[in-house]
Amino acid sequence: MVDSKHQWKAWLYLSPAIILLLVFTVWPIFNTLRMAFLNGYGNMAAMGGATFQFGIENFLKVIEYDKFLDCLKTTAILCVATVPISTTLALLIAVALNSIKPLQKTLQTIFFLPYVTNSIAIGMVFATMFNIVGYNPVEKVADTWGIINNVIQFFGGEGISWINQGSTYTANIAVMIVYIVWNALPFKILILLGGLQSINKQYYDAAKVDGTPKARVLTRITIPLLSPMLAYVIITGFIGGFKEYSSIVGIFGEKMGPPDDAGRLNTMVGFVYDALEKDRQGLASAGALILFVIILVVTLFNNKVIKKHVHY
């Protein structure tokens, strides 16, 4: 405990951090709360001298708004579909990486590359892969296809319009799932691989002495011992999933949907950005707070479920 005579010194030394936190974290949070509870708040209007009533109108508007529910739906679908897939894949890849000796470092690097690559750039590459490239003016149809469709055609299937004009919501979501899973893998593999490498090898020797089959080693020893890392990866995966935005911009552009149906794939964060652009900060703040509450509830729920399965 600092001597009370010198307490001002403690505050002085802490002040740079405190000031930065106040300006860039505490004030924005407070301001978000304030704007959310001022009916119809907008910055421009506020500067023009308009006054706003205190109330929950912003929240009601957000909830009543059809598009918001669509955003919620898209976000939820992406979360629920991608987190289990990417976690399972990451686990299998991490276990495989951990069990090979030659080229381990090289493969680790390859698997980690997406993590250090800009997600918009990755999105553009994916967009090209799923795109229908080129247009045949004579027959008035697209005649050059992206690599995914080329592969499908090679095996005798028919090309699908994944992200272009006339594509279905299901096709769009499928592309997003592939992209998000791929993008989420490196971080998860890194965490799980670190976890695997910290497991004492003697557990595996002990299992070997007892003649434990490989599958049983994975389910009864590796996964339980990895459970704290798995829990971390799942929880952060859900949180990241609810904040999904830039990946969709990466593939579909700021329209957040195929050309003929802009906004179809909009997410909650997208909704917040849209509202900000239209100078409806009150609405945006209310949306952000609702998103916060949803993430909070989901995380608490995750924690509760996972706690039962994390063993120590």
């Binding site: 002990a206 070997k208 007892d210 003649g211 434990t212």
Partner: protein, 367 residues
């Protein structure tokens, strides 16, 4: 089940590619471990004792040589088919399973004709737990147990499969001093009760001496001496074995044999008629010398440590290889602590000669 090791050798490839130096961890180890005995592999770290144990377990493959369990050649057999129980140095209990689940785990792996019913498994788990006296703790997790209790769980897990051979890697090194004493008696009792041939590894000579039927002393991958603990102690084959066994350690002094007498400095301390003249190391057990005004060896007296039953006379001699020359005597014997020097008499059967170059024992006839 007797265990036979035949010319067992393990060579580890060099870690440093430039020097290309291989490490011979175990060199040409031949030994037959009789059925139902408790055998201690003893040596300083890096002597190859753990490697030997892991080769017997099958977790490491020997570079050459053979291993037999009874008459079966198990050299090429994989670990799980050897029928061994292995207790790891840090126990390797699965931290997420209860004691019960840990003990049941090996049984649940059994398939085919060995497959057990649930009830049989539970019975065997409880029997193993009762044997090591942890049947009260079945629902605890390993983290809720003391070191000694964890050790017992590890032994129970190794015994529950009814192994042909039980292997223990440094079983006592993670326990505190008091528990160590208690647990080594426990290991002895469990081994006698089950009659399973047991091999354990230790660097603690006292531990090995106290519970083993047979000890194997190793150094740098080479077996130095094999025998009953007391026999090895009383009749060491070389200087290493003599110095490695015994606390406090044996007194080692430099000297020479000349004309059938052993000289330390100028003093003739022992008649060894028939021994060739040579430079020697002289090993004398601390209990083998006692102060006597007419003694043959004169040392500078440092102090006397009284430890209840015994007393330890601490002295020094310029020919001594150890910092001190120590005599353990009954505390009834009075020593003049004010004197500068002390004279010792030497008991011939506690007195060993070793050639100075080879450090091998030089035998002589005790009169």
């Amino acid at each position: 089940m007797k265990v036979v090791l035949e010319n067992l050798t393990k060579i580890f490839p060099s870690r440093d590619k430039k020097s290309g130096k291989e490490v011979v961890a175990v060199n040409d180890f031949t030994f037959e471990i009789p059925d139902g005995q408790l055998v201690g592999l003893l040596g300083p770290s890096g002597c190859g004792k753990s490697t030997t144990l892991y080769m017997i377990s099958g977790l490491q493959k020997p570079t050459s040589g053979k291993i037999y369990f009874g008459d079966d050649d198990v050299t090429e057999l994989s670990t799980e088919n050897r029928g061994i129980g292995l207790v790891f140095q840090n126990y390797a209990l699965y931290p997420h399973m209860t004691v019960m689940q840990n003990i049941l785990f090996p049984l649940q792996n059994l398939t085919g004709k060995d497959k057990l019913t649930k009830q049989e498994m539970l019975d065997r788990a409880y029997n193993a737990a009762r044997l090591v006296q942890i049947d009260e703790l079945m629902d605890r997790k390993p983290s809720e147990l003391s070191g000694g209790q964890q050790q017992r769980v590890a032994i129970a897990r190794a015994l529950v499969k009814m192994p042909r051979v039980l292997l223990l890697d440094e079983p006592l090194s993670n326990l505190d001093a008091r528990l160590r004493l208690q647990t080594r008696e426990e290991i002895r009792r469990i081994q006698k009760e089950t009659g399973i041939t047991t091999i354990f590894v230790t660097h603690d000579q006292e531990e090995a001496m106290s519970i083993s039927d047979v000890i194997v002393v190793m150094k740098l991958g080479v077996v130095q001496q094999i025998g009953k603990p007391q026999d090895v102690y009383d009749d060491p084959k070389n200087l290493f074995v003599a110095t490695f066994l015994g606390t406090p350690p044996i007194n080692v002094l430099e000297g020479k044999v000349e004309g059938g007498k052993v000289y330390i400095g100028d003093e003739a301390v022992m008649d060894v008629a028939g021994v060739e003249d040579q430079n020697v190391y002289i090993g004398i057990r601390p209990e083998g010398i006692e102060p006597n005004p007419n003694g043959v060896l004169t040392c500078k007296l440092n102090n006397v440590e009284v430890m209840g039953r015994d007393a330890s006379v601490v002295s020094s001699h310029e020919a001594s290889r150890n910092p001190v020359v120590r005599a353990i005597i009954s505390s009834d014997i009075q020593v003049d602590t004010t004197a500068d020097t002390v004279k010792y008499n030497i008991k011939p059967h506690k007195f060993f000669l070793f050639n100075k170059e080879t450090e091998e024992r030089v035998y002589f006839e005790v009169k």
